[in-house]
Amino acid sequence: MADISYGWAGYIARVNLSTGSITEESDADLQQNYIGGMGFANKIMYDEVPAGTDWMDEENKAVLAVGPLTGAGVPLAGRSTWATLSTFTTDHLVVDCHCGGQLGAKLKFSGHDGLIIEGKADKPVYIHIDDDKIAIEDASALWGKGTRETTEALCKKHGLDCCVAAIGPAGENMLPYACVINSRSHSAGAGLGAVLGSKKVKAVVVRGTKAVNVADPQMVADLSDYMIAQVLGSNNNHVVPSTQQSWAEYYDKGSRWTARKGLYWAAAEGGPIETGEPKPFEPNTMGYRCMKSTKDLGPEAEKYTVKMGGCHGCPVRCYAHVKHPTVLEKTGYESMGNTCVPNFPFSAYMQSMMKVPGTATDDGKLTEQAVIYNLLIQATVDDLGLWCNYAQLYRDIAHTYVDGILERELGDQFAGYEFDKIMTGDGTPFIKILTDIASNDTENKPISWLGHGPEVWTKQWNDESWFDDKRSALINYRGWPVHHSIECFGQVGGLYNMMFNRDDMIHSAVNFQGCGLPIELKQEMGKEMWGEGAVDADKNYTPINDAKVEFVWWSIVTDVLHDSLTLCNWVWPMAMAPAKERSYRGDLDLEAQFYTAVTGHKVTIDDLYKSAERIMTLQRAATVRGMRDKDGNIGCNDMRGVHDVITEWVFTIDPDIQVFTAGTIKMDRDDWKQSLTMLYKRFGWDEELGCPTRACLEDLDMKGVADDLDGLGLLGKDGAKYDDRTRTYDRVLEKYCADNPALSA
C-alpha cells in the first residue's frame, strides 16, 4: 500500500487545452517548501511561464491550488488561490486571485491539490473534474451566458453537488477586469476571468467525494473546539460587539460583531430569527455574530435578510443572504448577498462623489434606495463575471461622471447611460452601464475602457492626474488602489500595499486595527508580538521604527501563509481574542498546530513564516525578472524606483496639518524612503533596490532562482540569512493559552 498523504491530496492535475492532454503529477516535492495554494501556484508560474509572456498568450497559465489545511476540518480553511498574469496592472506580472465559496474544498475532495490550465482551446470548453475523471468538454452552448445560467446548466448535467467556477460575458470578451465566480457570488478577481476567456474556458466544474486524510483527527477537533470557543471573533476577527452588551467589557461601533438583541434575520423561512447576543464560549451561536446585511447595506436591509452564509468550513458567517423584490423584478434574480465590495459598491465608493439625494438620511443612515442601488450593481456584476479592482471601477465611474469625462468622451452615447435617472432615485441604468463595460467593445462602446483599469483608461482619456487625486484611492502607479493602506497604522499599511502586482488583500494588520479593543490594550499586545512602538493610534502616526517594520513583515508573511495553507486572511491570524479570560490575547501558534495535526509533520510557526517569506520572495523574484525598466527593457531590479512607488497624494493631503500629528494619515517623504529601506532589510533584500539577494535566496533554498537572477544581472547586493533577521514567534503568547490542547498534549 502506498504511503498515505495527510493533508495534501498529493496530486496536481494539468490540463493542456492546445493538445487536449490531461495528466496528473505528484506535488510531494513542493509540499515542505511551498505549502500549497499561493506557494504552489507561484512556484509553478515561476518555473513554467517565461518572463515577457503577455496575459493573453498561449504560454500564460492559470494555476489553481489549495493547501494542506483546505477541507481538513480546520476552521476557515475554505479558500483557494489562483495565480496567473495580471491583465490590468503594469507589465502584466504574476498575481494571485483568491476566492472562497466551495471551489477549494471541492477540488481537495476530488483528490487534487491543484489544477494547471495551460494552452488555448480553439472553441469554448469547460473542464470537468469528477474525482479521478478529468475531461475537457464542449461549452459552445454556454458561451454568452451569465454565471448563474452557466452554473445551473452544468449542475443540471453533472450533479447538483458540483461546484461550478464560471466566467460570464466579461470573461468571454476578455475584459481585463473579468473574474471567475463560484457559488453565486464568490469571485476570483485580478483579471483571471479574462485569462480563462482568452483560453476559451467557460468554467471549471468540480465534484469530489474523496477524503482528506488527517494525521491526528482528534487534535484537529480539539484545536477547533478551543479556537471557536475562545480565540475566534467575528468577521475580520473583530472581538468586541458593535453595541453595548451586558456580557462585554468593551464595545466598538465599527466592529463587525454586529449581532444584538432586536436585530433579526427578518425574512427567514418560518419567521424572524434574532441574532441576539452571541458570546464567547458559545460555539453554537458563533454564526450569528456577524450580521452583514445591515452592516453593509444599512438598516433597511434587515427585512430582506434571509440568513447569513459564507465559505466552506467557516464558522464565521460573514456573507449576507438577502432577497429584494425590486432587484428580482429588474434582474430576474432573487438571491443576493456578498461580504465585500459588491455588497456596498454604490454607498461606499460612488456616493461620496455622486451625492445622489435620498441615499442616506440626515444622520447618515443608508436608505432603501441605497439597498436597491447596491444590490442592482451586485446582481449585475456577479452574473457578468466582473470584478472591480477592489472598488476602483466604481470610483472611476463616479469620477468620470461627476467631472464630465464621460460626457466628453462618450459623445452621443452618454445620454443613453441615463445618469440623470441615477441621480434622481432610479438605479436601473447601472445594469446597462456595467453590461456595456463587460462588452469590452471599446470601439463601439467606449465606456468599456473603464474595465481596462486606470493605467489604461486614464491615458486613453488624458486623465493621468487621477492617480494623484486622493479621491481615486489609487496607491500605486502600476494601477491598483488602496487595500487597507496608510489609514491602517501609517507606514505599516502603506508598505504592504506595495508588495504585490495588485491590491494586496492583506488583512492581518487591519483586523487588529478594527478589532474593537482599546488602543492602550492593543499597544500592549503589539509590544508582545512585534516590539515596543509597533502600534500607533488611528490618524496619529509616528515615524518609522523597527517594531513597525516587524509588524509589516508579519502582516505580509501571515497573509502569504494563509493564502498557501489555505486559511482565510480576512479573519486569521489569531492575534486577538474575544475572551476576557485570556486577556483578549490571541494564539499565534494555531496555524502551526493545525498543520502538525493535519499533516503529521511537526512544525513551529517560525517554520511556516519562513516558508511564507520564501513564497513572497519568489514572487518578488518573478516580478524582477519580468518587470520592464524605465527604457522598456524586460528585467529590472529597481523595485524601489519602478515598482514600490506610492502615489503622490499620500504626501500632499491635509496641507494644513503637520505630518505625524493627530488628525492626518499623511506620510513623510524621507520617512517613507527609510521605511522601504528597513522593510527590504527585514526581508533580506537589497536595501537600496528592494530586490532579492543571493544571501536570502540561497538561505531560503532557492539557489536556482538566485542563479537565474544572477544570469540576468538582476541580483541584489548583500542581504542576510533568515535566522539573522528574524525574531521568534513560537509560543510568544503561550502564557495566555493555557487551554490550548496542543500545548498540553
Partner: protein
C-alpha cells in the same frame, strides 16, 4: 417580532411507511421472542417499538436513544457538520461520506426546480437520519451488516458490509452513503458531533421522540422559474 419556532423538524416519518411495510408481520413473527428477551432483562428498556433486523439475527425491538432535530432556516451552509462527522467517525474529513448531508442541496435544494439553494430561496435541506422505528436500511441489508447498538441506534458493521448500496436504496431518504473510497456504507449513530460544531444551532441532538407531525418545509411552494429555462436575465440582456 415573533421568534422563529415553526420549523423544527424531528422524527422519522416512519409511520407513513406502515401501509406498504409489513411491520405487523414482523410483530407476529418475533413478538414472542422479544417479549421473552425483555422479560429476562436481556434487552434495554427502550427496545420496545420496532423490528430491528432482517435475516433473523437481532429480532428485537428498539427505539433509538437520540435523534437530530433540525431547523433549516438557521443553517448557514458551512458544512462543518459533515467534516466534523467524518473526523470523529472515520478519522478523515470526507463530506461525501458524512452521515448528515448539507452540501448536495446547497446550490439548488432537493432538486433543480425546488426553488431552494443559494441560487434561489437561500434555504436548503439539512438531511439527517430519521432514526426510524422501522429502519429499512437495516431490514433491507442482505448481509445483516446494520446492527442495533445498546442505545437502540443502528450502525454499520464494516466487517460485514460489502458496499452493495441496498441500504441507500431502501432508505426512503437515501441517508446512508457508500463511501467511494472504502466501499463501506455509513449511517448516523447519533454521536452529536455535528451539533456540537454547528455555529448556528441549527442542529440539536435530542432524546428520541416518535414525532412525525412536525416536519418543516423541504422546498418552495411556488418556486421561481429556472434561470436556465427562462432566459431573460441580466446576461441575456432582456430585463431592465
Amino acid at each position: 417580532m415573533k421568534e422563529n419556532t415553526a420549523l423544527e423538524h424531528v422524527g422519522s416519518g416512519a409511520d407513513r411507511l406502515d401501509p406498504f411495510f409489513t411491520r405487523r408481520g414482523f410483530v407476529k413473527v418475533s413478538g414472542a421472542f422479544v417479549a421473552s428477551m425483555a422479560a429476562l432483562g436481556l434487552l434495554p428498556e427502550t427496545a420496545v417499538a420496532a423490528p430491528a433486523n432482517s435475516k433473523g439475527k437481532v429480532d428485537f425491538y428498539a427505539t433509538p436513544s437520540h435523534v437530530l432535530k433540525v431547523n433549516r432556516a438557521r443553517c448557514t451552509g458551512c458544512q462543518r457538520c459533515e467534516m466534523s462527522c467524518t473526523l470523529k467517525n472515520d478519522g478523515t474529513s470526507q463530506p461525501a461520506a458524512a452521515r448528515i448531508h448539507v452540501n448536495d442541496g446547497l446550490n439548488y435544494g432537493s432538486e433543480l426546480g425546488s426553488g431552494d439553494g443559494v441560487y434561489y430561496s437561500m434555504e436548503w435541506n439539512v438531511r439527517t437520519c430519521h432514526m426510524c422505528k422501522t429502519a429499512l436500511c437495516q431490514t433491507a441489508c442482505p448481509y445483516g451488516a446494520i446492527r442495533t447498538e445498546d442505545s437502540g441506534v443502528r450502525d454499520v458493521d464494516p466487517e460485514r458490509c460489502v458496499g452493495c448500496g441496498t441500504c441507500v436504496a431502501a432508505c426512503p431518504w437515501h441517508m446512508p452513503v457508500v463511501n467511494t473510497q472504502t466501499a463501506k456504507s455509513t449511517k448516523c449513530i447519533a454521536c452529536g458531533r455535528c451539533a456540537d460544531q454547528c455555529p448556528n444551532g441549527a442542529l440539536e441532538l435530542v432524546k428520541w421522540e416518535d414525532v412525525n407531525h412536525s416536519s418543516g418545509p423541504t422546498r418552495q411552494e411556488n418556486p421561481l422559474p429556472l434561470v436556465s429555462e427562462q432566459q431573460d436575465f441580466i446576461a441575456g440582456g432582456k430585463l431592465a
